[in-house]
């Protein structure tokens, strides 16, 4: 992997985070005096004075901009007026619950979606293929909130099997994971199918077959690694949707994560928390996409060179 490629990608990631921070800065300044927006109304004047000095609100705008970046780098986003604690602290407590829900849903999507796509591709144009693709189309069109409401209606209110809200036991996880995982599972199934179909026609598969590779060997060792590349890209690209879905899912199931915190903070105009969450999500999204990009340039040299050529032609 060459150094320029890594540098370029890292630079772009930094620029993206910078743009998001600038966006928050502008929106915050447009909406009024930041000190009064980011601190509780009835807080003591000393604290207000402290934050005014830290954020440089008495200085010219460009100095405020610089101060804003230093305080963001220190994680100082203001005080949550509901909890009366620094916003970052309030947010960080909620991260584990969101990660638990998000990772399990992602795992569910992979475990369900990818095998479904592989089998659909291998049994192309059969009843199984049609069923799998119908699932993919339906799952993709199903909004998270309606899926959640239907599951609650069926499993909590009619059958009384599962709890509809909270997070104390493993039972609480089932419906949120199903809600958040179905749409990505549908997407993965669709992409895996087309990717496997494409790979199965390649000469190296014919070679493997001609050399007498067993059918399962042919699929597992030859086809899947090559079919995985576009699927991995899609996973990275759709991460943002998963975060949006998590906001909705956590709200529907009263899951104590960051998404529900965000919705509550928006409703109560707890702007310090909103600001902190936006910045945190921007940083994690950019980091994950950067890692995927790097991993993938490293896994498949063809893509790296193709991209560089693409860039030379003006990313055509």
């Amino acid at each position: 992997m060459n150094f320029g490629f890594v540098l370029m990608k890292t630079l772009r990631a930094v620029v993206t985070v910078w743009l998001v921070l600038t966006f928050v800065f502008i929106v915050l300044r447009l909406s009024g005096d930041p000190a009064s927006r980011l601190l509780p109304d009835d807080i003591d004047p000393q604290t207000v004075a402290y934050y005014r000095a830290e954020w440089g609100l008495d200085r010219p705008l460009w100095e405020q901009y610089a101060a804003y970046f230093t305080s963001a780098a220190e994680g100082s986003f203001g005080i949550s007026f509901r909890d009366r604690r620094p916003a970052l602290e309030v947010i960080l407590e909620r991260v584990p619950a969101t990660l638990e829900l998000g990772l399990l849903s992602f795992a569910f999507a992979i475990v369900v979606g990818i095998p479904l796509g592989v089998v659909a591709a291998l049994k192309r144009n059969t009843v199984f293929d049609r069923l799998a693709m119908s699932f993919a189309v339906l799952g993709y069109a199903m909004p998270y909130f309606f899926m959640g409401v239907l599951l609650i209606l069926l499993f909590s209110l009619q059958l009384r099997w599962l709890p509809s809200s909270g997070s104390s036991t493993w039972w609480h996880l089932i419906m949120p994971v199903l809600t958040l995982g179905t749409t990505p599972a549908a997407m993965f199934a669709r992409f895996t199918r087309s990717s496997v179909l494409e790979v199965m026609n390649k000469p190296f598969i014919r070679t493997a077959r001609a050399k007498g590779a067993l059918p399962w060997r042919e699929i597992v060792f030859h086809a899947l690694p090559n079919a995985a590349i576009p699927v991995v890209t899609v996973m990275g690209l759709r991460l943002g949707e998963l975060i949006g879905g998590a906001v909705v899912t956590e709200t529907v199931f009263a899951w104590p994560g960051m998404g529900r915190l965000l919705v509550g903070a928006v409703a109560n105009r707890d702007l310090a928390v909103v600001q902190g969450i936006v910045v945190l999500i921007a940083i994690s999204m950019v980091t994950v996409n950067l890692l995927i990009d790097l991993a993938y340039g490293w896994l498949d040299p063809r893509i790296r060179t193709a991209r560089q050529e693409g860039r030379a032609e003006g990313r055509a």
Binding site: L19, F23, L138, I243, V266, V286
Partner: protein, 299 residues
């Protein structure tokens, strides 16, 4: 003689081709797509003629007729799909909610398409730093989940209808910018563009009278495929309570409010949910079909 015969055959073939009845692709119009198109037509009729079709006004309350079930569950009071917690007719409210949701989604999608296409054209026309700037914004927009941006803006600026529609308009612009830029980059190298250019018309005339019509169909397909996303974004924000505000109704808003009555009156939430689901499903089916049929570049 053989040459003559061959020509006759050829003429005959040409004749047949030319005079075949126009089929409009109906033989390749699958039943599912037909059903989806039918449903969308029905939704359009509901949205346009909501006030004529609705048996009640969407805000007409009746304390005696609260939480009535739909007629097939033995509901009384003449509510086709039941009534809600304030005794308002769910069917009438759904019709008006369809109107709001469709209007916001269509308006938002069109604004986003115009905005993004324009930026894509600018990037391809001027290259250099303009292109770098546009592509940087595109990357930035694609890197940040739109729902989070929308929530942040609504939290900071407060909610109002104009801001909300503007937000829906921004949603998805980066896709058009990216596609339009790519299309224009290749189109401006083609013979016709070079010819028009060398005849002395540059700038506006070349780009809007000659290149735009030639790159329009993939953009229209993209627009169709984006409508479900906009509908989902609008209904999601309204569901969370940050989109359309009462007394207006939207499909997401009624669903969100009906969530509190799932145990006693599930129809309040389920009816708008089914409408959203079927609408997004139908648009994607029709959009996919359109893409496969009319846009060879995306295949």
């Amino acid at each position: 003689m053989t040459v003559e015969l061959a020509r006759l055959k050829q003429d005959n073939r040409r004749f047949r081709v030319r005079f075949r009845l126009p089929s409009f692709g109906l033989q390749r119009f699958p039943a599912a797509v037909a059903a989806a198109a039918g449903f969308l037509a029905l939704m359009a009729i509901c949205a346009v003629f909501a006030d004529m079709l609705a048996p009640y006004s969407y805000e007409e309350q009746s304390l005696l007729g609260r939480l009535q079930p739909p007629f097939w569950l033995g509901g009384s009071g003449g509510y086709l799909l039941g009534s809600d917690e304030l005794g308002r007719d769910v069917f009438s409210r759904t019709l008006f909610a369809i109107r709001t949701s469709m209007a916001v989604a269509l308006l938002g999608t069109v604004i986003g398409a115009l905005f993004g296409t324009f930026l894509g054209f600018l990037a391809a026309r001027f290259r250099g730093w303009v292109e770098d700037l546009v592509m940087m914004l595109v990357d930035c927009q694609a890197a940040m989940p739109f729902l989070i941006i929308a929530l942040a803006v609504l939290a900071f600026m407060g909610n109002n209808l104009v801001l909300f529609i503007a937000l829906m308009g921004i949603y998805g612009w980066e896709k058009y910018a990216r596609v339009a830029r790519g299309l224009v980059l290749s189109a401006q190298e083609q013979g016709y563009a070079l010819a028009v250019h060398s005849l002395g018309s540059g700038g506006f005339r070349l780009y809007f009278k000659h290149i735009l019509p030639n790159v329009l169909s993939p953009l229209i397909v993209l627009l169709t495929l984006n409508i479900p996303d906009t509908i989902l974004m609008e209904t999601t924000l309204s569901f969370l309570g940050f989109g359309i505000q009462p007394p207006r109704t939207s499909l997401g808003l009624t669903l969100g409010m009906g969530r509190d009555y799932l145990l006693t009156a599930w129809w309040i939430a389920v009816v708008p949910g089914v409408v959203i689901f079927l609408t997004t499903l139908s648009i994607s089916l029709v959009g996919d079909w359109l893409r496969d049929r009319f846009d060879p570049t995306l295949q």
